[in-house]
Symmetry: C2
Subunit: 672 residues, 2 copies
């Protein structure tokens, strides 16, 4: 034997060996608590764990939870689900961080009681058992006062005294009152506490349920070549409100660099009147904390934020941590950039592509703490102007640790602040960004076209651990993404993608007015860039154009608002159909009082019919039950019965059903 | 902003923010390294992890590993598998504990090289790039001496000097020699080290590949009612060796208590000459460190251990941490037991069942450290007598933390010691015991009878994380388990279960001679207890009986020895068949040089035929390839082609095929 080996309790508390209960396999849990799970105010957090003990003893356990910083834990008793898995839940009401953990212990009185009942029922002599029970009651009494103490004392006396008939004594031992009393005063001796306090970040509901509209403010102008202003944007707020969007996201609003400015369609040669890309941030007029003079003043911006609020719209700003070569930082803090051998600052590149109008920060620089602080101060500046939502440009080209530091930093003081990760990159990187703090994340939705792709991808996002930390944001299009499907599928393609984004996603967005006006010419064949992209020039749009999708958008946003089932993604369920172009999925509220079934023809060119096979178990509908499927898009109702139902969808005039299921006599799930 | 919030590097190293590489999702990894993975000497440990960085930089990573206690790490470079997953492996040669972890960093020179190639191929001006590369080479030079330094210096000179033609300079920049040289001297600046050192426990091969024979030594006697001795056991070693077993496991060999001793068939009334249960350990003749006098002396035992070794057989002892009421501990250490109100020691029970011939230890007693030490000293005592394998009785009724302390304690000084967990309880408890240290574990095999049960259970054991820590031991029968299948299925049932145990399991065992002599009368209808169980009486067995299965056992153990594929479980693959009673599975070596396909008719009563559908991809056989299936049981060969093959099995004379697959011209997988 190695004499240097630890004795049993070296370095452990003196009861280490007596803590027999094991707690493992806790869910939800992201990387053993390294990252928080995400919830929204009012949500229930359902926690499960495997909890067990050696031998045959009965155990008890509680879920412990608290708002971070609270001095004491609240408790919810855990209940056995099956096979050593226990469950409890708590509700998160306030924004901010919560923590939860678990505690389990051997419930010796419950063990005694269970044995007593079995022995009694087996006709065994239980006199000795009664004395053991009485001893446990007497031990417990030391922690009890008042009426309960009197009742417990009476029980103990009954069990030990010879003056009572055996039946009365046994009756006392078996009484539920005694069990309940003892349960309330458990000593929890030698309890095991799960060693990790698992974090929850609680955001406001908008983190989960939001409809975004992206628009270049400089294009909000009646006259070609004139520059739209914040004041002009105020003028289109009714238009955006009518469509039902609640977030208006503006690309960067800062002064735009002149050096190496890109011309129209990204031309490396710039004409004198070309406005440049808003993402080439910074000029002698200022950097990330300044406003592009042609858009107006900082005061105008604050006025826009306030006016938008009147329309139920929040302004989201773009955080693009990069500079034009003219950004004041470049002169003031050359130590934050990489220098080329010729003494110049290294521009951005992804060889062989060069982005000479942009210089990236060098996050490996020695002065990284100062850089981080300055970058954080930009967010703080705009928070102080009233902004609470930030769309972060290319977060995957900045270190994960930076975000892991930055985002919690702001959410601590401003728990209503939301950050959307604009990363279209490899899956593990997108997930990591969500883990380190982003509240919403762009997805591969634009490129998921086929039925199997949509089913596979959205099953992954909603039925794996990703659902705990990754909130998908589904965009029909962006200034960078005009998919081939939209380029070629005509109006039906726009309608289909709009319906999918708004129904599959609880967070979704469109880049308009290009979307509702169905702008669909690419810069070149095979390109996803828009021809005459607003990234590089001012466009004027005929918002009142009669072919606009604004009416359909308004209808879809209204349907989303009216149906709580559509305001999350966790309940998403795909249902088989017999046609490869017809996708069917449902969402429901936890109590199934609201169930929405969406059936979409993914083929923008052909009418198709098929049978859908609804998973009635999932929907809580009886196999032979008759139910009403009310199409909120068309206003028509169908009476359906059983799992198999016929659908026929013509993309030209009806690409989808959005069916709210109802029993004839009342909403589903209410037991009517 | 909360002024108390940490600044970026509070509490972190000064390069915290510059360590950009992320390492996550490491496999194998059990509970983030709380428990070791298990391997056997000579095994390859294949490690994978998701490793990535922000942006477009090229990264490099290494697997670090060492024997525990070694002063320095060894390295294996990781290679990208796909989708940000990297892989490397190392071989564990010595018994004991190893550790491994990972390190990743941005490889700036490789990033430069990748960009250089792309820019050059795109026809861009690369003169500035050459200066950047030269600077990196010069920085590297500070860490290099000798010939390599000269070569690097030459390269740097080539890149910077104006005296060479451009083609020569570019040739230098593109040269593979330069890349290789720079690779060898990477600075690994701002490397990320995975924060956990993951443990591996390396056991000897017997932990994975063993054939156990359980036998009551007192029954090794020619005359009914006389008591077998260690000397007698020596006499049957040739018999056991002939059958091919390499572990002989003896139930407890200690003095047996007299108080409340159980009679035959577990009767609570004991006759004067009843020998009692060996698990009622301890009498005035001694406790866990003493030998039952009727078996012989401690010297006799040591002689048996030595003699068995001559036959290639290891003696495994039973560690049953419980006492008869007569055990010396009860008098010497009453503080280790629970006392009843009447002053007596609490006997074992699982209400309403009582085991009054047994008293359990109270692991919640205040003196638990002394109890743990004493219990550990029992194992040490038997290690000192030459025992290296212990079968632990009912480990699930002792605290998990006790085992987690005890087992590593012994394996540190005696890394060849093995512990088998005899827990037939709920799945999570069985897994936990394996996690905390048991080297082999009893399984639910005895009750997995139907095809779907076997497929489901053994898929779980071999294709989930369980395979990292849980080594299954498959028993056909035990003194406690005579399944209904064996009771009713006749000789075919015994053959089928034997084949399944020996082929599905790489560790398996039988309780004999009851097994090979096909003892199959239960104590009562519906009971799994043997009638006239050896647990309570001495039995004599006619080992030479002509109906014995000893020949078949010998054949199966020979097949196991000859086919490396059968000496593990990780490669187990089930193949579909078209009959619900015909099970088909295969095992193979990693290089597929040995492939064994087993087809078993699970129905002991009826002949069945069907087609099996071999997963040829898994076996490395071409779809149209002709191959030989040699039945090592019957000695017959079949020529098969394609996935679908006909089988017909009559349980009475041939319940199974054990097919070794061979190409006509040589073993499979050798590329012949």
């Amino acid at each position: 034997m190695n004499p240097n080996h630890l004795s049993p309790h070296d370095g452990q508390d003196q009861d280490y060996g007596r803590r027999r209960v094991v707690i493992e396999n806790v869910t939800p849990e992201v990387e053993k608590g390294e990252f928080p799970i995400k919830r929204e105010a009012g949500d229930l957090v359902v926690v499960e764990a495997d909890i067990f003990v050696d031998g045959h003893d009965t155990i008890a356990s509680v879920l412990l939870y608290k708002k971070e910083g609270a001095s004491s834990w609240k408790e919810a008793p855990m209940e056995l689900v099956q096979n050593d898995t226990w469950r409890a839940s708590f509700r998160v009401e306030e924004l901010g961080r919560y923590r939860y953990t678990l505690m389990g212990w051997v419930d010796h009185f419950a063990t005694w009681y269970k044995g007593f009942v079995k022995k009694y029922e087996a006709g065994q002599d239980v006199s000795s058992e009664m004395l053991i029970g009485a001893k446990m009651i007497m031990d417990t009494l030391q922690r009890v006062s008042g009426a309960d103490a009197n009742r417990l004392e009476t029980c103990a006396y009954m069990l030990t005294s010879d003056t009572f008939p055996l039946e009365a004594k046994i009756g006392t031992a078996l009484s539920e009152e005694l069990v309940a009393l003892m349960q309330g005063y458990q000593e929890r001796r030698f309890a095991t506490v799960y060693p990790i306090e698992l974090p929850v970040i609680v955001d406001r509901k908008k983190a989960r349920f939001s409809a975004w509209y992206e628009m270049f403010p400089r294009s909000v102008t009646p006259r070609q070549a004139s520059h739209g202003t914040f004041k002009d944007v105020e003028g289109v707020l009714p238009y955006i409100q009518e469509m039902g969007f609640d977030v208006l996201y503006l690309p960067p609003i800062h002064p735009i660099g002149k050096t190496k400015r890109k011309g129209r369609n990204g031309d490396v040669v710039c004409q004198p009147d070309d406005p440049g890309s808003p993402w080439a941030i910074g000029s002698e007029e200022g950097g990330h904390k300044a406003v592009h003079p042609e858009l107006g003043t900082l005061e105008d911006f604050r006025a826009l934020v306030a006016r938008a609020k009147d329309f139920g719209i929040e302004i989201a700003l773009d955080i693009a941590y990069q500079c034009s070569p003219d950004h004041p930082y470049v002169k003031e803090h050359p130590e934050w950039f990489r220098v080329r051998p010729d003494g110049g600052i290294q521009y951005a590149e992804n060889p062989p592509k060069r982005y000479e109008d942009i210089v990236p920060f060098d996050f490996e620089c020695k002065q990284w703490p100062a850089l981080w602080e300055e970058l954080a101060s930009i967010v703080l500046f705009w928070i102080e102007q009233g902004v609470r939502i930030f769309r972060v440009d290319n977060p995957h080209t900045k270190p994960f640790r930076f975000w892991q530091w930055l985002i919690p930093r702001f959410k601590e003081a401003h728990p209503d602040v939301l950050f959307l990760s604009e990363a279209h990159t490899r899956p593990k990187i997108m997930y990591r960004l969500a883990k380190v703090g982003f509240c919403q994340s762009y997805t591969y939705f634009p490129w998921k076209i086929a039925k199997w792709e949509l089913e596979q991808y959205f099953t992954e996002l909603t039925k794996t651990q990703a659902v705990e930390f990754f909130r998908p944001s589904l965009w029909t299009n962006t200034p960078d993404i005009l998919t081939e499907y939209l380029q070629t599928g005509g109006r039906p393609a726009f309608m289909i993608r709009l319906i999918l984004a708004a129904m599959l996603g609880s967070n979704y967005g469109v880049y308009g007015p290009a979307f509702e006006l169905m702008e669909r010419l690419p810069r070149a064949k095979g390109s996803e860039e828009y021809l005459d992209s607003e990234k590089y020039e001012i466009r004027t749009w005929d918002l009142e154009g009669h072919d606009s999708l604004r009416g359909s958008i308004a209808q879809l946003n209204r349907i989303r608002g009216e149906n709580p089932a559509l305001q999350g993604v966790g309940s998403l369920t795909f249902h088989p159909t017999e046609h490869e172009s017809i996708l069917c999925f449902s969402k429901r509220t936890p109590d199934r009082s609201n169930i929405v079934v969406v059936v979409v023809n993914l083929d923008p060119f052909q009418r198709h019919w098929t049978y859908v096979n609804l998973n009635l178990d999932e929907l809580g509908i009886g196999a032979d039950e008759t139910y009403e499927a009310f199409d909120t898009l068309s206003g028509e109702g169908y009476v359906w019965r059983g799992a198999w139902n016929y659908v026929e969808l013509d993309p030209a005039w009806r690409p989808a059903h959005i069916l709210v299921l109802k029993r004839h006599t009342g909403p589903l799930g209410t037991g009517q």
